[in-house]
């Protein structure tokens, strides 16, 4: 049995894993690092798979760090291999190809796995998940091989809609099936969802809300999907089905170890698990908001701490940016709360599909939605993250020319380092 000894072991090679390398190298320039990935591509950006599917991004543009990144950082990259077992006491990870890796510090960044709906027909040909590059390649091949006219996307969340957008781009007629009363129900409020629904319908989509797929069907003995039956008994033609009803933390590896888990792995502010020197970051963590910047930040913080740095993860807010049907959208924080304790500021320009909403709680911004016009949205993100009291600028928040100038002077100073604004 081959044995590999390493100071740092990182399981997972997406945002958190790569950021962890950068975090470690910020503090420790020499300690050996090994990265295990169950995929065969040396690195790629998961969110790009919809762009790949639509043909907007070529395979070679998928990586978010170049090939030399690993050699430059002196990282041993083990591809196409899965960590199957973990001995937290001896600090050994056993890989699927039979090797074992002895490590000193470990990051588990195994991400999330798509939840496949337990319905009849979900194993048919032409039914795909949509989280990994492999999924996109498989869908692309399937589309190439078969004449696809109709597709059904199960789940009207962000992943589903990005798939929808790619399929529209490929000239396929798409039907969206969403359990909630509207698409994007977790990130948007009714108005914002409405704008996007209208745009999708205009682009030729069917949207079925408050509905689910009861069964995925094929013709006779053929394994190829041909249609789906909705809960409402409606038959929808489908040569392709993409399931996008969510992901769950990929905790197979740590089950039956001393590492505390719930739905995901439990970590402290340093991103360390209850077992010393074993860290976790990204979508595999409990209560993590599964978005790229969070995974990246957590990975980097874990890396720094693994290399005996002193970084702290102070939590994160839900944030999403996506352009759908040519309409850019951003949602940050709490967006669809209607209770009395929240104050809502709104702006709507119907003819331009522009909608902005700010949710306030005790004179602090807790959430925003921007549809159609996302310029300067980050300023609001800053105000949320830094818990800035906005009582004095409330009336300016939705003004056309809102900007840094309108911010409380103290916060403006806080924003500025030594070379910056003189305020």
């Amino acid at each position: 049995m081959k044995t590999l000894k390493t100071e740092y072991l990182i399981i997972g090679n997406s945002a958190a894993g790569v950021a962890c390398i950068e975090g470690i190298r910020k503090v420790d320039k020499t300690g050996s690092i090994a990265v295990i990935s169950d995929e065969n591509i040396f690195n790629y950006s998961r969110p790009l798979i919809s762009y790949f599917l639509a043909g907007k991004v070529k395979k070679r543009a998928m990586p978010f760090r170049d090939k030399k990144f690993y050699s430059r950082n002196n990282v041993k990259l083990v591809l196409g291999n899965t960590a199957e077992k973990l001995d937290t006491k001896k600090r050994i990870a056993y890989l699927s190809h039979g090797e074992k890796v002895v490590f000193n510090k470990l990051l588990i960044a195994t991400g999330g796995s798509p939840i496949i709906p337990e319905i009849k027909g979900s194993r048919l040909d032409g039914v795909f998940a949509f989280t990994k590059f492999g999924d996109a390649v498989a869908i692309k091949d399937y589309i190439k091989k078969h004449y696809i006219k109709h597709a059904v996307v199960i789940g009207g969340g962000l992943i589903g809609l990005k798939a929808v957008e790619a399929l529209i781009e490929l000239g396929i007629k798409v039907s969206i099936v969403e359990l909630a009363d509207r698409i994007l129900s977790t990130t948007f409020d009714t108005k914002a969802s409405g704008i996007i629904q209208d745009a999708l319908r205009k682009a030729g989509c069917n949207i079925f809300t408050k509905n689910t797929v009861a069964e995925i069907l094929s013709k006779g003995e053929d394994k190829k999907v041909t249609s789906v039956t909705l809960k409402t008994r409606k038959q929808v033609p489908a040569d392709l089905v993409i399931t996008a009803i969510g992901v769950s933390p990929n905790i197979q590896l740590v089950k039956n170890t001393s590492i505390s888990i719930n739905r995901g792995i439990l970590v402290d502010e340093a991103m360390q698990t209850n077992v010393k020197d074993i860290y976790a970051a990204g979508d595999v963590c409990e209560k993590n908001i599964p978005i790229w910047p969070n995974a990246f930040k957590q990975g980097r913080i874990a890396g720094e701490n693994m290399a005996s740095g002193n970084a702290e993860y102070t939590g994160s807010i839900a944030m999403n940016s996506v352009e759908l049907c040519g309409i850019p959208t951003i949602s940050i924080g709490k967006t669809s709360l209607e209770q009395d304790k929240y104050e809502i500021l709104e702006m709507r320009k119907k003819e331009e599909s522009i909608y902005k909403k700010i949710v306030l709680e005790n004179n602090h911004i807790v959430g925003c939605i921007f549809v159609g016009d996302i310029e300067r949205a980050g300023i609001y993100t800053g105000l949320i993250i830094n818990r800035v009291d906005i009582s004095n600028i409330k009336d300016k928040l939705l003004e056309e020319d809102f900007g840094v100038l309108a911010l409380p002077e103290k916060y403006r100073k806080h924003l500025v380092g030594d070379v910056g604004l003189e305020v």
Partner: protein, 147 residues
């Protein structure tokens, strides 16, 4: 590491910085040709904010701890090894606007012609950025940061 320092005390709000930024990032780099012949002409990567008599020109601060670098899912946003500037590789950018979402200064915008992020590149290749060079009142300065 050189950065642009903004001195709001002396910013007149003339917006010549915006004009020259547009020209610098145009196809011809000629002011008349840019304005008379390019459709759409590039959007300025510097933005003059104005309220009453307070005005200042704001462009990417090239933060030391840049949130856009963490947020960029394509790796398009990168830090230039030599200058320390935060730059956007336009070939990699797909226009997901994550950077716009996280930039606390709001200085990244959507490009006027392509679906890519547009931001200050410190006029790479020029000795000093054109906004600094053309500021008539030296309200913008190109200086070494203290660290």
């Amino acid at each position: 590491m050189k950065r642009i320092r903004i001195d709001e005390k002396y910013c007149m709000g003339c917006r010549l910085c915006e004009v020259h930024c547009i020209v610098q990032h145009s196809k011809t780099k000629n002011i008349l040709k840019t304005y008379m012949g390019e459709y759409p002409k590039p959007a300025p990567r510097i933005l003059v904010e104005e309220k009453g008599y307070i005005t200042f020109a704001l462009q990417c601060r090239h933060c030391e701890d840049a949130p856009c670098l963490d947020a960029c899912m394509t790796g398009a946003m990168y830090r230039d090894k030599e200058t320390g500037a935060v730059l956007c590789n336009e070939d990699k950018c797909v226009g997901c606007w994550m950077c716009i979402m996280v930039c606390p200064f709001g200085v990244i915008s959507r490009s006027s012609d392509k679906k890519i992020a547009s931001k200050c590149d410190l006029c790479m290749g020029e000795d000093i950025p054109v906004c600094v060079k053309n500021c008539p009142n030296e309200a913008l300065k190109y200086e070494d940061s203290k660290d």
